[in-house]
Symmetry: C2
Subunit: 210 residues, 2 copies
């Protein structure tokens, strides 16, 4: 996922040394996403954003034409990261189970690297056109994973005694829930978390199944 890595830590944040801080679009976006996640997108006005940024509303409009454009740019960072998972050669060869494990592991990495952006994506309610388009792209990602689960069932590596839609839902439930509790920079590295998620999802919690 080279494109994911390239924008992993987006922007430098406020850079001004005197007076009002200078923002670029990415650092405005970083703050906006935190505020959207804290208050909800609908409940966040440009006034609230301006307050959190410490700049005027018109200064925000210098970077983006509207609140919905901010949302759109933020969601692109989440969706672009997730979609780049499928560009890796590991998704093109090997058994379906190996490819599924790779996709789960890569998805965990994108989630942890772009945590606030994916959080925003996962909390969308679909009240605006921008939200609905993003949710459709997210469903496209989910469909590809569901197809992979289907292939793994067909090759006999993933259990077939549970409805594949339920398997898919529970897999996404486990993976996506990471955004609710994971805090970057702690003892639990993204790599270790990815290992743990793959271990629990594929082998279960019962002892002696590693």
């Amino acid at each position: 996922m080279p494109s994911a890595a390239a924008t992993e830590t987006p922007g430098p944040g406020p850079t001004g040394r005197r007076g009002r801080p200078g923002y670029d679009q990415q650092s405005v976006l970083n703050v906006a996403v935190e505020v959207f996640n804290r208050h909800g997108y609908d409940a966040t006005s440009m006034g609230i954003l301006a307050e959190n940024l410490g700049i005027s509303k018109s200064a925000i409009y210098h970077h983006v034409p509207s609140k919905e454009d901010l949302l759109s740019l933020a969601l692109e960072q989440a969706l672009g990261g997730l979609e780049s998972v499928w560009e890796a050669p590991e998704t093109q060869h090997g058994t379906a189970e190996e490819r599924l494990e790779f996709v789960v592991r890569s998805t965990v990495r994108v989630l942890t690297e772009r945590l606030p952006f994916v959080t925003l994506l996962l909390r969308l309610r679909g009240n605006t056109e921008t939200e609905r388009k993003a949710m459709e792209r997210r469903r496209g990602f989910d469909r590809k994973v569901a197809e992979l689960i289907g292939e793994a069932r067909a090759e006999g590596t993933v259990r077939s005694d549970i409805d594949p839609r339920t398997v898919s839902r529970l897999l996404f439930g486990t993976v996506n829930s990471i955004v609710e509790w994971y805090r970057p920079g702690g003892a639990l590295t993204p790599e270790r978390l990815a290992d743990d998620v793959v271990a629990v999802l594929f082998n279960g919690l019962r002892a002696g199944r590693a």
Copy 2:
């Protein structure tokens, strides 16, 4: 969970046959919870609620003194259901693994029976005192499950190669995510879903581990 079952389908909904529908407190609550989940609690005004109920704001105040009281009553239905899990005798005897399976199964049942109420609980952001109190009660529930996971590790039935906090987080992630997609009344019954969740969580997705 007798108390859970008793209020499983709360209230009769609008009951008036002529003119404006008559509501009792529970049916006001049922509508309010749906609206909170759709728009977010912060973004929902009493005016929006009145519109959705088809009654005046003052008619709502006849049932509850404030929006925050509506929230409090709704959260009580979620938390009361979850807490009643621990009143069952099955949580008092057997191995820790058996008790953990029982608690997971019961939690899935409460989630599916009180879906909109638990959804509201899980989406809280902690912006008000009512929200923070509810989140503290939810953490109390989570702590008891975490203790049970610790016991099951100690007795050697649950894997010990993953940090118990991660195990606990992933377990809740899988279970709680059900509120995001489960729709009551379909082919997937709450009982079957509970079986599937227990099977995936304890045995994993890999074939041949039932």
